[in-house]
Symmetry: C2
Subunit: 659 residues, 2 copies
């Protein structure tokens, strides 16, 4: 029903399969008013729409037509249609005269693709009692709907809406309860007031607490979210569907949507957009048009901008640059920036979902970038690496640093106890924004070279560097700091190391590949993979390491784009022998063993266990329940995702070990 094609942070580019066709997600569902729609949204690129079944139900003429000809004919749209129940009307008018089952039946009867049970949208900031009571009813009705669907062989897909107002534990509880139902889609409801009040930090809390308790194998729909300025941020939190009446409501009010906010036509001296309408008309010309014609044109602009932004979001997810887009979009209003900064509280969760390698460089765009999962992950990894006695900190050069650093390095200050320096007992690291400490031996690994930051530093960056230095100086007997770093950051040290002219960094390919292996697969992997007599082949063109053999057997290849190791079968065997279950492992069931050994990719439903530290794009070992090595491959999903999905690829198998 839903499959993931690409991932970035919590965002997914996916495909939602319905009876009326496939929808690429994240997607916007324009709201179609069944009685008075005048804008043909499919003409402007809408792949899926949403309409209101209760409005159809309450209008005799619409109802008759919908029951006779179906909702697709009624609203003249061939693609997938989602229908809302009367929940919105319920939230506005307090009560409606239809039961949950009636609503389900009716939606099925008119041929909707995705129907919705009669949840209770609870406004933000109500009393806890109110939120709890509403939520209980919402859960009850969702249960009833799912059971009713099962009992009556209902074919439409079913939404179960997460409520709970602004009580984060209630959102979690509601999500947990609904997850048990195994519904087809999970909308997050009643967030529109938060967006209208510009409470984006609270929106982030509500969405993230819901999201962390929802399954990964279904689309999550942020109900009523239709302003293009928030699509990127909400996609990064894992929202797959948006819906919007904004394009037409704003048009009726002479307001133009933009990723930069909303423009009132009356205030425009220029059309600030590159869409077809904005290229063809001036504000004066638009203002002079008859109302109806003007609404059509502004709605066309609003749809073009909104659907264009969804394409931009999907492109960014596919290339791994979504957070750069989010950080740009969230500058358009301080309340959105507040939401972005609030998202910094969820870095641990985002890290879990974030792939370990991407096609895009990491661009530092401001203090918020320091919260991104890549940095947290890197610092955690080097925290765990084995330490030598002395840490030598060198200033950044052009990247990759190790290409430009060698030989004598200049004068150093000593930080910590001053002792004899054994160059063989030194860890060499570059101190730089945004990754803090970058061991020279592994500086080409993604994203340690594939990043850029401004030279003019902000204070958060400087403090981040100071914190890194303070933490890591604890792990070493002494720290040597290059004087240009000390001067740059204004560190004050009294001692200049007497032997400073003797400090030099000597490249060593074997030390390098071992360091990368430890960083990638865990401490000890380097020694295990690269024992015996090591032979390293480099690219003649780039000078980069390509192939690594041990005692005449090819153990690993180094990928040019991100310098991660791709194991051969021999390498897989060595890693398997050297590491403990479940480290680096994905465990498949007995039935799938022959296929896996045959080199076929591993599907989610055949995975019985998995190392929780595996991230999308990691190289993994595929084993059976007895920990026999069956194959090596690349993970496409993490453990939680694999467990959530009942189908779809989990691991792209590279090579199988035939029996």
């Amino acid at each position: 029903m839903f499959e993931i094609k690409a991932k970035d942070n919590r965002a997914r580019v996916g495909v939602l399969h319905t009876q009326h066709g496939d929808v690429p997600t994240p997607a916007l569902m324009p709201v179609i008013h069944p009685g008075r729609q005048t804008i043909d949204v499919s003409k402007y690129g809408a792949d899926i729409v949403i309409t209101n079944s209760y409005i159809i139900f309450k209008d005799d003429e619409l109802k008759r037509k919908a029951l006779k000809e179906g909702v697709h004919k009624l609203i003249n749209f061939d693609g997938p249609i989602m229908t809302d129940s009367g929940s919105f009307q319920l939230s506005v008018y307090g009560d409606i005269d239809v039961t949950n089952k009636e609503v389900i039946d009716f939606q099925e009867a008119i041929g909707t693709d995705i129907g919705t049970s009669l949840d209770i949208p609870t406004a933000p900031y109500v009393t806890r009692k109110k939120a709890e009571e509403d939520m209980e009813i919402t859960i009850e009705r969702a249960k009833e709907a799912v059971q009713y669907k099962k009992d009556n062989d209902i074919s439409m897909l079913l939404n179960s809406v997460v409520q709970g107002s602004t009580f984060l534990d209630l959102r979690e509880k509601c999500a947990d309860e609904l997850t048990k139902l195994d519904a087809d889609l999970y909308p997050i409801g009643a967030v529109v007031p938060l967006m209208e009040m510009y409470k984006y930090a609270d929106l982030v809390d509500v969405v993230m607490h819901s999201m962390e308790h929802l399954p990964d194998d279904v689309p999550r729909h942020l109900m009523g979210a239709g302003h293009p300025m928030i699509f990127a941020l909400c996609a990064a939190m894992g929202c797959d569907l948006f819906d919007s009446a904004a394009y037409v409501l704003y048009a009726e009010d002479d307001r133009l949507l933009s990723t930069r906010g909303t423009y009132k036509l009356e205030n425009l001296t220029e059309m600030p957009c590159s869409c077809e309408v904005c290229c063809k008309y001036t504000p004066d010309e638009l203002r002079a048009l008859p109302k109806e014609e003007r609404v059509q044109l502004i709605a066309q602009h609003n749809l073009a901008v909104s659907l264009g932004e969804l394409r931009t979001v999907r492109q960014a997810i596919s290339e791994g640059s979504l957070m750069e887009l989010v950080e740009e979009r969230c500058r358009v209003h301080p309340a959105l920036l507040d939401g972005l900064r609030q998202l910094g509280n969820y870095t641990e969760d985002l890290e879990y979902y974030n792939p370990s390698s991407k096609n895009s460089a990491f661009f530092y765009t401001g203090p918020e970038s320091l919260q991104r999962p890549e940095i947290r992950r890197h610092i955690q990894k080097i925290r765990q690496m084995p330490k030598k006695s002395t840490l030598v900190l060198v200033p950044p050069t052009r990247k990759p640093y190790s290409k430009n650093l060698s030989g004598k390095l200049g004068r150093f200050y000593v930080y910590g106890e001053e002792k004899e320096i054994d160059l063989d007992d030194c860890d060499f690291m570059v101190l730089d924004i945004p990754f803090g400490l970058i061991p020279l031996d592994m500086d080409e690994v993604y994203p340690l070279s594939q990043n850029d930051a401004p030279r003019n530093m902000d204070t958060d960056s400087i403090e981040f560097i100071e914190d890194c230095l303070a933490e890591f100086s604890e792990y070493y007997n002494q720290v040597l700091i290059h004087q240009s770093i000390a001067n740059h950051y204004g560190f004050d040290f009294s001692i200049i190391h007497p032997q400073s002219d003797e400090i030099k960094y000597v490249k060593d390919d074997i030390r390098k590949i071992k360091a990368i292996a430890d960083y990638q697969f865990g401490v000890g992997a380097g020694d295990a993979l690269f024992d015996g007599k090591i032979k390293i082949e480099k690219s003649k063109k780039t000078g980069k390491i390509r192939h690594i053999s041990s005692d005449g057997k090819l153990v690993a290849n180094m990928r040019a784009s991100d310098s991660f190791l791709v194991l051969t079968k021999d390498g897989g065997r060595k890693l398997h022998a050297a590491t403990e279950y479940p480290q680096n492992r994905v465990v498949v069931n007995q039935d799938s063993e022959p296929f896996t050994r045959d080199g076929k990719s591993v599907f989610c439903q055949f995975v019985v266990d998995c190392d929780d530290n595996i991230r999308a794009n990691d190289e993994v070992l595929i084993v059976n329940e007895d920990d026999d090595l069956l194959a090596i491959g690349k993970a496409l999903l993490n453990k939680r995702e694999i467990e959530s999905f009942n189908n779809g690829q989990a691991i792209k198998t590279r090579k199988g070990f035939k029996k």
Copy 2:
């Protein structure tokens, strides 16, 4: 020839008048290749184009046609045409076989609207000697061209290009020398390599050092700047014209321009834009097209995006939100962010050009926002205000603060010597991002209420607040800090003021209007304007002060949008009597005195002197050379601009004093 319609920082929305029509600026001039242009740029909204006279000159067929039918016919464009000389070819091939005068003659002969003398483009980072020698020739040729134009009654407008490589003093010297020539337009040359190398911080230095030495009454053209991601930043520095072959060169290379950077077609899974082409085609469809057709479509996209961005820039200048746009755009690459941060070194200059009131709120988008002129100006103004004995610092509420703060204020910590507190001897200020210290009496003045910042603070903001506190505590005997502020920022004070429950803020309208007058017109203005028996009328609807009378005479009205005072004639007289020449004054010559007294607006050419502290949108006194008060009005330009212009409005006169 050029007039300014709206201003924001150093940016101007202007109109360039030419023989072939008016051009709204900032404008992009698409480059037209005279021999092989296949894209009709006027169809996509180009108002002005640029082509190369040397290419025409060197091709017999083109030359013949151009001389016979004119350049407009040759390149099939009815609007204004700028022509470049052979400078670019000179920079590439080292030498060309045409003289400066020949180039001028030829451009005039083919009917170009704006011609260019044969400058020498000097690359960045060359030796000083090379840069100096080149610059001398460039200046010589510019002189020769201007003289030649004068002597030969040449009607086309003339460019004089600023060179000097990356030597900032040479750029200044070149600009100074060219300014003396009184040319029609001033391009800034040879910056393309800086943009290609992503040296945006250096670009900012080069542009700003040139700009600060160029006149304000002519368009400044950033030669070769054609990527939409830099238009906003460069407009903020005062660039009025851009030119670009990028739209077609990139198209030929399957690259799509965007304000977010450049997309390679081969990497696209989606069309990340809302233009007509991106709405109609998928990347696969584009890739499948024949090369020629694809180039047309991508060029159309590139032009739509580029011209759309110029419209967005002009709209932002008109509404006063350009820096928000700049700060958003400069997030798309760390090197651009570096350029933006570099611009923070020029805040004093930007402040001089920045209007004192705008239609848009000030949005804080990150640490760079702290560098904006509005903040610098505010801090300087309150630094100069008279101080009482005690400073009371209260926490921010919703804005405007003074609407939500009154009565007892809670518990305070004491900072500095603890003394008796006289509530009548206290200055009450709110401590808040981004304006630091906001006196409660004037908190509704623009932009002290018209701003927003995220609640989650970055470290630069916190340091800014700490710096404000440290500086202003020097000016008072003691500082009382509300405990919630102290806790929020982690300030550590031992003493809680024993009388803390007694601290209250009592609103006082007379104190308020005097404070605003002092802030707006200088210390002492409040006492001078509002002596005698004061009567204050408020809006029945909003409760805001509207009219202020002194002894029965209306002295000033308060503008609802920004709470600045608009003086009446009586108010003008009082301010004039109380302040010294040239404070708040614009001095006009004898000839224009009758017109000014008649209430006619003041044109630049009639102004003989002007207070250097006057900013666009300031309320001013208009006097003659004997300092007799002739009228009151609103400044549209600052002193340097008024001196630079030979025509156009300088002051919008509100009321004249008839003799």
